[in-house]
């Protein structure tokens, strides 16, 4: 008999909402029919009295929480607020970021026999492979080729591993994103920081290789932290955007794999800027690649020039312009991330 009553509710005055995903149980209730009376069996009718005595507005028992209207600020203002909130999130969660970086460091190579030594061995072995292929088979005549290769491979390895790891950082922690409320922006940032720590440890390999090329060691190497800072800001801004994009479309990581490979070859890692055709147009286009600027700077302060001439100062103007642009990009990236952050728990 009750089912008949339900049907009556569904057809007479109420158009049932299409709940196509759920089996039709004849249990639809229209808006406003939050069916305490209609659906409850009659013997529970008394309970509606208790409901009536309960406060129905927050202001009844918590005046300071009365629901209020908020005015929507303008476009620029909104994005500035998003960026600001992201920066505040990061600043206030420093400890969390530190723990997450620590956990990530512990996880990588945790199950290998020689553990952390791989961080130093990895770039050296990679450089040895390039040395065998290009130095011995293709007979490149670049002087002190090993040092040259390492000064480009180390920063590139940092960049590609940071992008690779960070891109999946939100997706990889999807259970966390769905279960714990916390500012998700700590995920890409701690992931990029973990790659940075690996890079810094990997610099030990550079020190080891320098033992073979002590005549190449100059004070210009003190510019290294500045160049690395520029690279860090650039990498972080790109990585944050990619980690958010990858949460929506997993294709992003597939595409980026190939973009990174192409990027590797158009950047002066296996060759120098001097190997390019001597045309101002080519040179200009080439230098639009931030990594052309960065890697040339690394080469200049670590290795010097092809004719064996001394190292010199890096192109500080180009580096500083890149730093400024990267800082802007970073703020935009943080704002974009904050903008889409609420959707993560919904789509992951």
């Amino acid at each position: 008999m009750r089912r008949a009553a339900d049907r009556g509710l569904g057809s007479a005055d109420v158009a049932p909402e299409p709940l196509t995903l759920l089996p039709d149980l004849s249990l639809q209730y229209r808006r406003g029919h939050v069916a305490r009376l209609e659906a409850a069996p009659s013997r529970t009718g008394g309970l509606n009295d208790s409901h009536a005595t309960l406060p129905t507005r927050m202001s009844d028992f918590a005046p300071d929480l009365a629901l209020g209207e908020t005015r929507r600020p303008g476009f620029a203002r909104r994005w500035a607020q998003l960026a600001q909130r992201g920066v505040v999130d990061l600043w206030s969660r420093q400890r969390l970021i530190r723990y997450m970086v620590g956990a990530e460091m512990k996880r990588t190579h945790a199950d290998t026999v020689i553990g952390q030594i791989w961080w130093i061995l990895d770039p050296i072995l990679q450089v040895v492979v390039y040395f065998l292929v290009f130095g011995i088979i293709f007979k490149r005549t670049t002087p002190d080729f090993l040092l040259f290769l390492l000064s480009g491979v180390l920063p590139w390895k940092w960049f590609s591993s940071a992008i690779g790891e960070t891109m999946g950082s939100v997706v990889a922690r999807q259970s966390l994103v769905r279960q714990v409320p916390f500012p998700k922006i700590v995920l890409p940032v701690s992931s990029t920081l973990a790659s940075t720590v690996s890079f810094i440890i990997g610099l030990i390999s550079l020190a080891l290789v320098f033992l073979l090329y002590l005549h190449r060691l100059t004070f210009w190497i003190l510019f290294l932290p500045y160049i690395a800072l520029v690279q860090f800001v650039f990498t972080l801004s790109l990585a944050i955007v990619l980690s958010a994009a990858n949460a929506f479309y997993r294709d992003v990581s597939n595409v980026m794999q190939h973009v990174l490979r192409l990027w590797f070859y158009v950047s002066p890692i296996l060759y120098t800027v001097d190997d390019l055709p001597k045309s101002p147009t080519v040179h200009f286009l080439f230098m639009l690649n931030p990594f052309a600027v960065l890697l040339s700077a690394y080469h200049t302060v670590i290795w010097g020039t092809a004719d064996g001439a001394a190292q010199g100062p890096p192109d500080l103007v180009a580096l500083t312009v890149l730093l400024a642009l990267s800082c802007v990009a970073l703020l935009v990236a943080i704002a974009i991330f904050k903008r889409v952050e609420p959707a993560f728990a919904r789509i992951l």
Partner: protein, 267 residues
């Protein structure tokens, strides 16, 4: 938190809450899939799904609310919205006081870190002040009662041990509002008794609790009020005993209905 001083600061108000999932972007979407659907103008079915709609609720301080309903009724979505993990698509959610979620015990654990390190990590994740974490740690370790394992990596723990540590962390912070999703009754009998004792303690301290469960006994045991949800809507609200009865009754009805439909199809 200034509110900590006042014991009666826990309160939840939900007004006309709606949470909509975008089916197009949910899970493993690729650009290709989107494109091919677009090009072929294939009818991809509903693009959105309202997990909750026009939902009103209030929980007063000291109350313990049980949430019942069949699978897919929107119970978990409700907890996610209360926890601030999901933003409401429409309507408003106001929660006063510190919320602690126990949606899954052991969420956020890093398998390679020790139990002790994980206490720090999860506490930082929940945004607990470091000084408080240092104060709370001995109590958390004692309550979890996992012995020397506290210094071993969490990956060596049994499921029960992980759940115990998770429960211990989530309740140690003395939340004003505790959200629980199917997590009671984990671990052995001793731990069950102790966790029930702790839930009772939290309730005595005038904290609000929202408990989602299919375990009808724990609703009767823990809750002061219960609601029944179906298809994203609140359909009944009353004493735990009445709500459990109605839930059972509707379950029977659904079973009969399914049997009848099934019979029609096979006939």
């Amino acid at each position: 938190m200034k509110n900590d001083a006042r014991p009666s600061s826990g309160a939840i108000l939900v007004r006309d809450l709606g949470v909509r999932y975008n089916l197009r972007l949910t899970r493993r979407t690729t650009i290709k899939g989107d494109l091919s659907n677009f090009i072929r103008r294939r009818d991809v079915g509903p693009q959105h799904f309202w997990a909750l709609r026009h939902f009103d609720l209030h929980v007063a301080p000291g109350e313990s609310l049980g949430v019942l309903g069949p699978n897919g009724a929107g119970k978990s979505t409700l907890l996610l919205a209360l926890a601030g993990i999901l933003d409401p698509t429409e309507g408003q959610v106001r929660v006063r006081g510190r919320v602690s979620t126990l949606l899954t015990l052991g969420a956020g654990f890093e398998m390679d870190l020790s139990g002790r390190d994980n206490i720090d990590l999860v506490a930082a994740l929940l945004g607990i002040d470091h000084k408080r974490v240092v104060e709370l740690t001995p109590g958390i370790i004692e309550f979890a009662d996992i012995g020397a394992f506290i210094d071993a990596p969490v990956k060596t723990y049994s499921t029960g041990m992980r759940a115990r540590l998770g429960f211990s962390i989530a309740t140690a912070v003395k939340p004003d509002i505790l959200l629980l999703d199917e997590v009671l009754g984990t671990g052995d009998q001793t731990f069950r008794d102790r966790s029930q004792q702790r839930i009772h303690d939290l309730m005595d301290q005038a904290k609000a609790i929202v408990l989602v469960t299919h375990d009808l006994n724990s609703v009767a045991e823990f809750c002061t009020r219960a609601i029944l949800m179906e298809q994203g809507q609140l359909i009944y609200e009353g004493t735990p005993a009445d709500t459990v009865d109605l839930y059972r009754q509707r379950g029977e009805e659904r079973k009969l209905l399914a049997e009848r439909e099934g019979g029609r199809f096979t006939a």
